[in-house]
Symmetry: D2
Subunit: 360 residues, 4 copies
């Protein structure tokens, strides 16, 4: 079962609610001897932290990570690594009037029907605040990947109808975080920002697409059949709040091309390594990495919390109108970029360790 766990070898278990004491994660299966760079972890946390810019929620959280276990003299010991991030700026009073009403397109109704009760404060466990724990865990995964020169990138490639006009191969991926929107194409980033501001000012929200890119992944990662590398990536992304779609390689667009165009011809690279001349496969063939770049798109719906008054029903089935005063992002994508990175890092770290088991 373990609904709050992800990963088989490098396995995370998260806990915590939006308005409880805090959010945490236990990593079980991180190998021993990894240099544990706390500064790196905190830097990753800063990328997701609320209150960073005018584009994000006004909730202020320092999001400092307390290391509760698993690290000794600066290195991982093989014991579980527990990390905890306290909530400091939760305002539960904002939710008093939502105790009995079901917010549209939120998890209020479904949690209540499943569990018979719900923590109505800020969405409780359903809050995207849970992703803080993913970012902390993903940073540890990234430390492991660094040893193998595997690089993870993610950026906002669309906000509403504003789309980045270039593919990832033509973008400066090192500059993603230079702009608060986290799009490395300056002109597009500005348009995205303007759209987000417009939505925010209208009390509305907007979705978009994040593109993920994994470079330097060695061939052989991923398991055939049910734990295909792209299936694990897809599951990871679809588990992030507000995600409604995932595609990798040629994705949905690849469905209109004939096989004769779509097939990626094998060739030999400059270092005698196996390469493909095109990469419609998105770096994964038969569920296993082939050494080429892995790339994928993740679709985020607009945030459900809008400032406009909405009609809904309450627990008694009576129509009610609600207006939400909680602090929320008009567009979740900029802050979701480090979450996509984190989940990617966890998937690849897990596959990397798992691959050690393939041969005698």
């Amino acid at each position: 079962m373990a609904s709050n766990s992800f990963g088989e070898i490098f396995r995370i278990t998260t806990f915590g609610e939006s308005h409880g004491p805090g959010i945490g994660v236990v990593i079980d299966g991180c190998p021993a001897g990894l240099e544990f760079d706390r500064d790196f972890i905190n830097r990753q946390m800063q990328k997701r932290r609320p209150g960073q810019s005018a584009l994000t929620t006004a909730r202020q959280e320092a999001d400092e990570v307390e290391i509760l276990s698993g690290v000794f003299e600066g290195k991982t010991t093989g014991a579980p690594i527990a990390m905890f991030i306290r909530n400091t700026d939760a305002r539960s009073a904002d939710y008093e009037n939502l105790k009995t009403a079901y917010r549209p397109s939120h998890a209020d109704y479904t949690y209540e029907v499943k569990y018979g009760l719900r923590d109505y404060r800020g969405g409780g466990r359903a809050s995207a605040r849970e992703t803080a724990a993913r970012v902390a865990a993903g940073a540890v995964a990234q430390l492991l990947l660094n040893k193998f020169n595997i690089q993870i990138f993610a950026y906002v490639s669309a906000v509403g109808a504003v789309k980045c006009p270039l593919p990832y191969t033509e973008l400066p991926l090192r500059e993603i975080y230079a702009h608060p929107v986290r799009c490395p194409h300056g002109e597009t980033a500005l348009q995205m920002q303007q759209l987000i501001e417009k939505m925010r000012d209208a009390g509305d929200t907007i979705g978009g697409i994040i593109t993920g890119v994994i470079k330097g992944c060695p061939p052989g990662l991923g398991e055939p059949v049910y734990a295909k590398l792209h299936a694990e990536l897809g599951r990871a992304m679809l588990s992030i709040n507000a995600v409604h779609g995932f595609e990798y390689g040629s994705g949905f667009a690849g469905t209109i091309h004939p096989g004769s165009e779509h097939n990626d011809a094998f060739a030999t690279g400059v270092g005698r390594e196996v390469i493909t001349r095109t990469n419609h496969s998105g770096g994964v063939q038969g569920g296993i990495s082939n050494g080429m770049d892995i790339y994928f798109n993740v679709a985020f719906k607009p945030v459900a919390t809008i400032k406009q008054t909405q009609q809904t029903i309450n627990q008694q089935g009576e129509p009610v109108s609600i207006t939400m005063s909680g602090r929320h992002d008009p567009c979740v994508l900029p802050r979701a970029v480090p979450v996509v990175e984190a989940m990617s890092a966890i998937v690849i770290a897990d596959a990397l360790l798992r691959h050690r088991l393939s041969r005698c």
Copy 2:
């Protein structure tokens, strides 16, 4: 680990290769007392069977399921249910010339780099023949769902650029299997058929989109956070051979709408049940079913096996040209429809059982 298993409670483990003795599955966790309808299972198998029509591979397999365990006097006993489907028409000689060459966009290279060797006959374990086991297991899951009046549908909504012009809500879902293409919109089905025939005659292949619809799913299924119902569905679909994308509800198209349009207002239905006036959420909110229809799209790339001569390399990294004589589908989608149904049924059966654990 268990790379060849899927599901937590209703758990399947498949085995077998394209050109070995056969394909099989063990279902562990099917509750006792389920009436085991062998005819239904065989009917489901017939939907996926090769050699059904001129649109599919010429390989002829009866695909009769032998029940090896778990059933007594017509009912499941709670013991694991093992089913086996013998291979009878495998022609391994077709693959002799591919022993050392890597077929483009196949799993030849990645399996070899992962395992140090590979079963080159018909793709071995990477063959879509593995999905026969999924269909058998999915039929058992469907028998369980029948008791709860949960209905699973899947149909071909696009082949290449030929798209079904109507949404699922306006299609006669009971007529999906009336046409060999498995599209319930007659005019479109004909166009799809013509396109597939054209590709086949050119020795080429084409991909497309399958739409899945789940009706009658009670609210409360799915687990928050990592086992969200749509994440499990997505993972299930992405584990099917040739799938490159998954979206549910509003999907990628939903990213361009503001929250004020996208949110699904709650209301009270005729039977006092909770409904939503629109269903951009695709029947899932916060990862848990809300009682509305669940619907999703699955993108399939074109089959990699084409009749045209292709350039590639061999194990020594030398360029070689290959021509494939194996029998393959010009378009995998018609035969993938029952596979999408099967994986959907397994996901929902698993969630249904899991939901029994939610409350004290």
Copy 3:
């Protein structure tokens, strides 16, 4: 993998080291709606707490449990329940001289050979302090079992060669905690105490046996084959520090009786329920509970930390003599009683939930 997790449905994941910030646990899979009695949890913690009596280690820990998540308005929500117990009286300086030496019959050498490094302070993760987290989790499991009138008992039935002369059926199980030794047979408890004091004064240690009894367990719990109820109990007990043996029902002694004497005849009880006239089966048949009392014995070796000077080797393989100044129990059994109870409760809670999945 998940080496630090136990249980399938009611699943615990523990973390923390003896001399780190503290010890914690995440429970994933506790059903929603359970009244969460914090006082009960703290009372259970007190039973295991160090520094309770002259028979235990002098280390002083309040062992108060901080609830980090999963509880709202006094009830479980279905979200993971995280609990944390801070270390306050760890004296790492006691272990400076043991940095490089391998303490006999401790985990120093094996951890180092496995992980390439080790946290030498108080045994790190190998410390029995980890069991504090089990007691906290076990208390939550017990709260669930209370709703079903399932009662868990454990008591010290032997310390060294001092054995309780009566079977559990003739002992006042409600009085176990009346004596610091946790043996409900007063005379024997005194003899045990004297033996422990003698060992303590000699700077030595002694092992013994804890007997566990589960009353009120409904028939049908446990899974055939690999998750037999007694196999899960055995695994649970064998995972407790210092445990070297487990037997249930007639156990090792049952091997000398012929089947004609050993078989438990079925009969009908006063309430028309099925009973057995004898209970050599220990309440479990074919791995599944039959409604009779479940009882078992757990063998604990003597604590490895003795005050006497010992010969050993260091990391360089050189002979060294060591004397340990850490604070330890001369006999671990009295404080292990609540740990045996806790692990029993977790096993039964898990089986109880799992049983909901047995039938259609």
Copy 4:
């Protein structure tokens, strides 16, 4: 869940009933490139086969293993290995009169109360015939261990009150299979045989103890906390039909010795390797192997099927007397020896692979 699976990395899933088509196993996680010695597997099967000698059941089964998948050109491919053993000599008519009666100390009642129905033919899934699948899987595990020079032994050390007078260290372990009783101490073996024959002639049965020994296990195997090596071994043994107890190293007898006697002093061996001067730890410290011999005892109760008439009740709770005519072993131990070996091999193979994940 996966009640019919065992092992995390080297993972087996078994299926089948005593009187169904047969018994099978799927091994998922066997690394690729292992030379697959079919003769060795069949030889192991012969050790467990019924009808071998006058000491065993008269049921005649060839127990030939059909390999259904996972092997290509004599080597494992990394794909799941499925093996199937057909039942050929099942006589279901023997059980017609037991349809409604609960055999004492069998799983009839507990299966029925759990599942609401049961396969009454030969115990169905509860039959020890399931262990045939374990032996097949264990043989594959042993092939893997052979590459690492790890040797597994098991022998009958007690039948009823007849006990082998020497410890394993003084016995010729290579000669275990020279005697049908599988005790390598000739004089004792004869006494055991006489006792078994006496019980058989009286229509009665008898239990005993099997001792397991693992030699050549490298240090570092096993996981701390819940997957301690001895906890996994214990769970494996307790999952075997009729097992009522498990102890390793000093076991229950070790509870009476003070720590100063029980501790195993470390020393340096002839090859500069770390050894201990005594081995009360049974080769496992803190749950991790230390390189010394691993040894343990497994207690088997007497077989429940006796020829004598017994009193019991039926499904209606009415008293009935039954006489069993099925063919059964008067003493299960000789045929359980290869099962103990098999489960040991699976546990060690799993730990061996898992250990690859310990360090960066």
